[in-house]
């Protein structure tokens, strides 16, 4: 039985090793924020962090994630709390700054792509705390296997959301 670590919890799964991570997360582990978009690594709706690097869960077999840490949007609040050394009481009810920024800036239209967008921006901000607009556009366009696509056209809002997230993270880091 393969064992994989998702959002800090080691889980045993029954799926065959070649099963894409996306199907295992959603159907076996009930981790639902990575969404099915294309199954071809062309859109980014299924993105997760693998040891802090964004990957496309729709084409990543679970055998490739053994011994590595998978983080989804469901796990972002705990990831932030851990990075900040917050106690469970301090962390209770708090979202990750990227999620918070997405709500404050009212970023989504339909929202189906935003889980992948938030994962990609989390990866970016963990590596580059003060990105330029060009850095954000590059992260969401040229840095991965494909651009992260938003059909509703929320890119302008995403840019504002990412910049707000950077500010919230900086404030959180000082606090």
């Amino acid at each position: 039985m393969p064992r994989i670590t998702v959002n800090d919890v080691e889980r045993e799964v029954s799926a065959s090793p070649d099963t894409p991570l996306l199907y295992v997360l959603r159907n076996e582990l009930d981790v639902m924020t990575p969404k099915f978009g294309c199954g071809l690594a062309q859109c980014g709706a299924c993105s997760v962090l693998l040891d802090g690097e964004e990957v496309r869960a729709c084409i990543t077999p679970i055998e490739a994630v053994a011994g590595k840490a998978v983080t989804t949007v469901d796990g972002l609040p705990a990831r932030w709390a851990k990075q900040r050394g917050l106690s469970p009481q301090q962390a209770a009810g708090k979202l990750h700054p990227v999620q918070q920024a997405w709500i404050e800036e009212q970023v989504p239209q339909c929202g189906i792509c935003q889980f992948g967008m938030m994962i990609k921006i989390t990866e970016l901000l963990e590596q580059n705390a003060k990105p330029s607009d060009a850095d954000i556009k590059a992260a969401l366009t040229t840095s991965g296997p494909s651009p992260h696509l938003c059909r509703c056209g929320s890119y302008a809002a995403i840019l504002e959301g990412a910049q707000r997230a950077a500010k919230l993270m900086a404030q959180g880091a000082e606090a």
């Binding site: 959603r26 978009g37 992260h148």
Partner: protein
Amino acid sequence: MNAGEILSVHEARVSRRGFLGSGGALAVVIGLHPSLAGQALAAEAVQVDATRLPSWIEIAADNAVTIRTGKCDFGQSSIYTAYRQIVAEELGVSIDAMKTVISGDTDTTPEGGGTFGLLRSAQNLRKVAAITREAALELASQTLGVARSALSVKDGVISGGGKSVTYGQLVAGQDLQLAIKVSGDLNAPFGLRVEGNPPFKPRSEYTIIGKPVTNPSLEPKMSGKAKWIGDVKLPGMLHARVIHPATLGSTLVSAGKLDSAQFPGARVVTVGNLLAVVSPNEWEAVQAAQQVGGETQWSEWAGLPESGQLFDHMRNAIDWAEYPARPGRANKGDAKGVKGARTLIAAYGMPFQKHAPISPMVSVGDVRPDGSVTLHTISQNPQHLRRMIARMLVTGEDKVVVKTYPGSGHYGRSNGGSAGSEDEAVILSRELKRPVRVQWMRADDMQWSTQSSASVADIRIELGDDGRIAAYEAAHRGPPMQDDRLVGAMLAGLPVIDAPSAETTYGFQSGLVNIADTWVYAKVDNVFEQGHGAGQIGQKASPIGVGLRDHSMRTPIQFQQNCPRELAISEAAALAGKDALQFRLDHVTDPRFTAVLERLRKESGWDTRPSPAPAARSTGKAVVRGRGVSIMLRDNGYWACAAHIAVTPDGGEVKVERVTIVADVGVVINPLQLRRQIQAGCLMGVSQALFEEVTFDKGAITSTDWAGYPILTMQDMPELRVVIASDPTTDEYGQGSESANALAAPAIAAAFHDATGKPIRRLPLRPEHVAAALSV
């Protein structure tokens, strides 16, 4: 008065159904029977009794207000923001009192109708709220012993004559019902309409409309708590993948044999030409469907023109005289007879485009042994989808419940009910006697969904000696706007409504093409516009009746007609040696257009001069720049747009550098959400202008994924400037979530002409089409 009736107001009646020990509520329900005869189509099915529907508005003893709407949210947030604001404003309660919005599900919402023109539809709830307020004032008058004329309401408190009572206190301990009068047919495409003419609060007294209320549905979505349609799991549920035919006209010759050793849990299901593989394990279903699909034989069919020949086909092969032409409402004078000093004659082409949701359609069908059906899906028109499903199963509408969830936006594709997968899930569930989840793969969604119809336009503009338009003549030709037939039902050989034709009149299911683009150049004396319809391309010749099915998509048909019109106006301005923005000002009379155009000139940094630009060039590796303008009137909204672009003639690359939009949509319900809607719509429009074209060979759609159907990426996002400049004197509610997507294309294409000196008369501005335009 009827038993229990305690007052009547604006054709609505309040009755007390009883006294309660605790709690208490006022529920606003449907009183008079809507016409249940409805459309002839409906007579076959058992109707839902609309008088037993859930309430529109409920006010509880703790002052909490619940509203219900048959509309769904697709991300524009209007039902969670604008609808709450409109109801709170009319009731006279705070926005915080608007606790709950229940939407979409056919068993818990009252009105039906499609999710489009949301602010027009909001007039239902607005009226219900105004009637409720009037009824509450009457009740308060009785309760307080104060004359109605002395009472007013603010922040949920009705007061006057030194006394006051809250909405909650009015209803406490009682079971009150306010029955309102409606007309229409619940499960018809347009749903119910609230009757009566209650007084509305004047705009000058608004305190909640116009505020940037945030969308309460975002926190549960972004935190991961919300259940999306793709997340629905039912006990015993099977995962299905449908193996759609090889072409849009193929029938099943032989289904591939399942490799049971490799896929022990999977099973093949065939219903007519509907072929699927199911398994309790989704990944097994995906793989087994690939294996079976690879070995399945379909009949050959080649009934489409290739996409490269589409416009030739539309111009030469289709008999447009088969369907009656539809004249434009603005037609006047003798456009055909006028000969000017100079003439523009131009032919334009708009390709098929895709709604292209990021997540392909997914639904869960649950047909139970007693024949009752629950369909879990996302739909812009759940009540009408219910009617279509009941019709398919030849059962009563009362047997079918449609439950809706958040899901991928699809921009109009399901405003007649179905976007794809719903019917297939129900058919397979009935066949297998278990809940079945059908998830379309990317290629299913690109190949088997409907598309935004293609269009060709022939435009002639006569310029007078003064350089003004003396006559405007346009013929717009295209296949129908909308086909709401269920494609899975067609494959399975089950009943569906008629295909759109010259004779069909059901819902939007018409083959006739109207002039959808409102004429705005009132100073032109001679105007002749005509719409020409035909059947859907390939559909009649297809043994399965499919072909290239069409469906309305954001700013439907108006986009297909406005883009050529606005391009032609810009070309005519160039021919006249006039600035394109000033040329428009010279031909409009409506002061709201004058205002948005003047504002656009300022906000966009428009350089007033004729096109092409002095430095225009159509060859070379050096970048040339240009700017273009477009305007549109839609749903009481006045729009103007300027695009600044850069073109590299060698290689044909077009980069949109800056887009400015000025919008006067009348009363702005929520400036925050409106701004987001306009930004997003505008970027979708840039995408449509630059990249989007459905490609197909003689049998099938060949743009099957994001490589074949590219859309705008963040890297290609222009600088965006959105200016909301509403006329303060109008009381009209305009629309914000459409129009914006239609403005970019004609402005960008006009900017291309400005930059290069060469007109481009077709979308999208991909390198191959740009190269063709530059080589003329």
